[in-house]
Symmetry: C2
Subunit: 643 residues, 2 copies
Amino acid sequence: MEKLKKYVSVKHEDQFYHQGAVELLVFNFLLILTILTIWLFKNHRFRFLHETGGAMLYGLVMGLILRYATKVSDVESGTVYECEKLKSGPSTLLINVTNQVYEYQYKREISHHNVNGHQGNAMLQKMTFDPSIFFNILLPPIIFHAGYSLKKRHFFRNLGSILTYAFLGTAISCIVIGLIMYGFVKAMAHIGQLKGWEFHFTDCLFFGSLMSATDPVTVLAIFHELHVDTDLYTFLFGESVLNDAVAIVLTYSISIYSPKENPNAFDAAAFFQSVGNFLGIFAGSFAMGSSYAVITALISFIHLTKFTKLCEFPMLETGLFFLLSWSAFLSAEAAGLTGIVAVLFCGVTQAHYTYNNLSPDSKMRTKQLFEFMNFLAENVIFCYMGLALFTFQNHIFSPLFIFGAFVAVFVARACNIYPLSLLLNLGRKQKIPRNFQHMMMFSGLRGAIAFALAIRDTESQPKQMMFTTALLIVFFTVWVFGGGTTPMLTWLQIRVGVDPDEDLKAEAASQSASNMDKNTTKAESAWLFRIWYGFDHKYLKPILTHAGPPLTTTLPEWCNPVARLLTSPSAYGDRLKDDGTDYIINNDELTENHESSAHTPVPAQDRTGSTQATGKEDIHEGDLGLGGYKLQLEHTAGQPQKN
Amino acid sequence: MEKLKKYVSVKHEDQFYHQGAVELLVFNFLLILTILTIWLFKNHRFRFLHETGGAMLYGLVMGLILRYATKVSDVESGTVYECEKLKSGPSTLLINVTNQVYEYQYKREISHHNVNGHQGNAMLQKMTFDPSIFFNILLPPIIFHAGYSLKKRHFFRNLGSILTYAFLGTAISCIVIGLIMYGFVKAMAHIGQLKGWEFHFTDCLFFGSLMSATDPVTVLAIFHELHVDTDLYTFLFGESVLNDAVAIVLTYSISIYSPKENPNAFDAAAFFQSVGNFLGIFAGSFAMGSSYAVITALISFIHLTKFTKLCEFPMLETGLFFLLSWSAFLSAEAAGLTGIVAVLFCGVTQAHYTYNNLSPDSKMRTKQLFEFMNFLAENVIFCYMGLALFTFQNHIFSPLFIFGAFVAVFVARACNIYPLSLLLNLGRKQKIPRNFQHMMMFSGLRGAIAFALAIRDTESQPKQMMFTTALLIVFFTVWVFGGGTTPMLTWLQIRVGVDPDEDLKAEAASQSASNMDKNTTKAESAWLFRIWYGFDHKYLKPILTHAGPPLTTTLPEWCNPVARLLTSPSAYGDRLKDDGTDYIINNDELTENHESSAHTPVPAQDRTGSTQATGKEDIHEGDLGLGGYKLQLEHTAGQPQKN
């Protein structure tokens, strides 16, 4: 290690020098270690440590080593230079040092009290990521994957509840945490622990909003492995996915809330502007994300229809899919919206429409690609969290604040889940049982999003205190709650070993094609949702995919010429293939494995589909194909156990 | 565009600002356009424009637009500031500007005459990548993919010829280009076109070495599509893969060649030091790359042997494979070696050993992942080349130098191919025919590596002139020679429509298991190669993979206890499964498509393998399984034409 470091510093002037090779190597090493450990654990069916927990643990150990085993060096970089000629910080700075011109790139603004943190250990400094890396590189694949792997049928069945938990619940959580923390901060100020730092109610709300982003990745992985009740899985997954988006936009809106006069007094104008900002950014990001997905769906649809041979190039399809999804993120960022939220809704829409148009090979490729990116990004973030506890140099540990935060987080989670479940049960035919509510309460883990939001701004002392506290809460919840999931499931007597596809198929079998659109909304029958579902099924799906009824039957008669133009010939024969889209999901390898082998029969089925496209009206052929598929699925899923 | 730009500059101070969103969006847009065009072209079987050529064309157009349609702004960044207090350029600079501290990151050193190029158009400046991005992000996946997809059997059969072309040929090419260019430079100096710039013979050699990296990606794609003669394909592919490594290390060695006194005179000590550097770096990078691959092979081997259930987690396997391969690159960089060369040999070794240990699902995943990364990186580089013609601000167009370079490149290619072929034909049983030689001469395209090597250093005027010239040569060769491949194949009457697997299988069928290791070296029978092959087949393969004969039969009797420990039980039954490794390859989607469906029977076959592991000595079962596989392959390969 030391030797490598020396090499790097010797070669500093060399044009062939690779910046950050050693640091990246440290991360690679940690990830390799994590994978090997998890491999071992999975083999022995240890479920108390998920890979994210393991990554965090190894990061912690490595951080400890880096902190106390490396020497302080590179003192030069801590000195502040005066520059009278500059009026503002330009993006690129050219500096003449003893007749050589050096180019410097603007990085960020630093508060005076933090200058010390930039002195000293160069290795620790190098191991510190730019916070924008989280938002621009690591989080997008995670969030997109979450959107893309949403179990759509179950998700839409419980949409009302999920939206309530995600929007109302996050708002409640944010306000409750904010209020409790404000009490603690007042108390701290009273006993003189705040050292005169400014700490407004908006700061407390800011902390509340960032701590409201739940990330039950550990819990969901175990749920998936144990095949826990699908509705509970969907509640938690859907809530955590949407709640990330809400928390991110909420944090942003609060951070730009700027009352004109007294920052402690309530300023109605500024408040409504913040609410307006929240709604504007959320809606804008939603629109941006879904419109890119619609473009992708249209392109892949046109290609599939006009040039049937093009499914022979899955690489091009995958590339297009990837690039357009990334463009959704970039466009939103460039337009001043929130890229992460855009990419989430892009993922959901891609899964809903584009996925149906992809060739079987591309379906698998896109799924595996995003799964892989998600896996790497997630583990890098959790590794980094472990590292940050020791390598971040501006920690402020305040026991009272930390204690307050723990209390606030749990109280806020309770104020979110129990009252809202009570409310929802009033309207739901199929009630949310008591043990589900307890499990959801228990699954309020904090993870990557809370961390990324907290590390984005660590300039002022209150923000540093928040960051330290957020980090500790993440550690605690991931290890303690994550590790306790399996015992908790047993204790709460929650049904495990449920086959989600069986669930769906039993339902699908009982319904005929005619009453399909009514039957799927069985669990919740909000009129708004019914209208959307009908619109989607009758118009959007036929336009954007090969699924759904042909437009010629759903549109009024005078639209027939347009309808014919927009309907692909194969749509006539594929009314029931819509169901095929329910098999996206699984961020776990086990199921992925049987999924990918189960997917094999699809090409054959698809070929039947394109034979139908030539004119046959053999409607139930597709359904029979699905039946065969199901059998195949069961067959292969059973085999790994025998090996 | 303008509106977006304004947004970004307004939000400059904002912590939520995403640097480079607009620029990345431009690239995304270009890539999407490229994919759509290529999709259209492939559908109509136009072969005169490969995706790389298309990417370059779109890049060119976009560069033109950016150059002439965007306004000059951000004048501040062109000013050079004096700083007397600084003695050297620290890696991080803290600057106090009107009571705010800004952090700046060291980027590079700039020559005084280039300061002007940094003034002016901020958009053009933003569109300019840091040259290190090529070497650290874009090239590694391309090079790894090349190594990983080497068609091993054909490659090893022709190893001698390929090594001759790659090492001796590249050296010849470098020296010939250097000499010719030196003549032209002398002439330029004579007529006063050099404006007093220093231009030594070593600079000419530097240009020679960077222009010696051939990149026939366009030609190979067409070869692959048309199923051109496998030996010709292997010559070109093998040569271009290895020649990249040679050219990179050669360029580096020449760039650090520093004679003590007169730079024009020959300094024997410095020369031998350069040769020593070349050999040291090459050997070191080779060792680094292959040792990481051996580690991967061992880990995957142990896991496969001890925990048979672990192939149920292809994601972990893929992650480990990816991270260890990347670590090879990073370790080499950190140790002052050449990461690209390390990653190339890592790829070759991974394909040779690790690939055999992977689960069928991981085989496909790793192949598709690297294929996808290769596809994106390649198109980004070619896009950027198009852009660079207009956005790079320090071009020096010197007609005489450009003319000289074109002459030199073609003469050097001829001096490489024809004499070496003559030499090789003396030793080869199966001669390299005249038309193959012409085709190889014609396929001397320059591409990504030459560009990346040229852009790495554009500080001095001679280097800028070289960069401009290299760029023009890349454009010319990719469009003219790339586009002319199909007519040239017809004109030279080169055999197309050859099935490489058929070729191999006909051969495999005619040979029994006993004389296998002799038979494969039919085309070339250098004793050194025979020894290596024997050693690899008898010892390395059994230790690192499940293929090859059991160690207990190949090692001397006294080693039996060790041999038993190192041999997996399944090795006894898998002597002939070795052949399965020949099906890695195909950077073309068409074949990928039938490949992935053809791969489907493999799990079943593998399961037979693990049943054998329980003790049966059913040696020829594996061979029969392969036969079934072959039938399946032909079956599916035939189908797409019928649809």
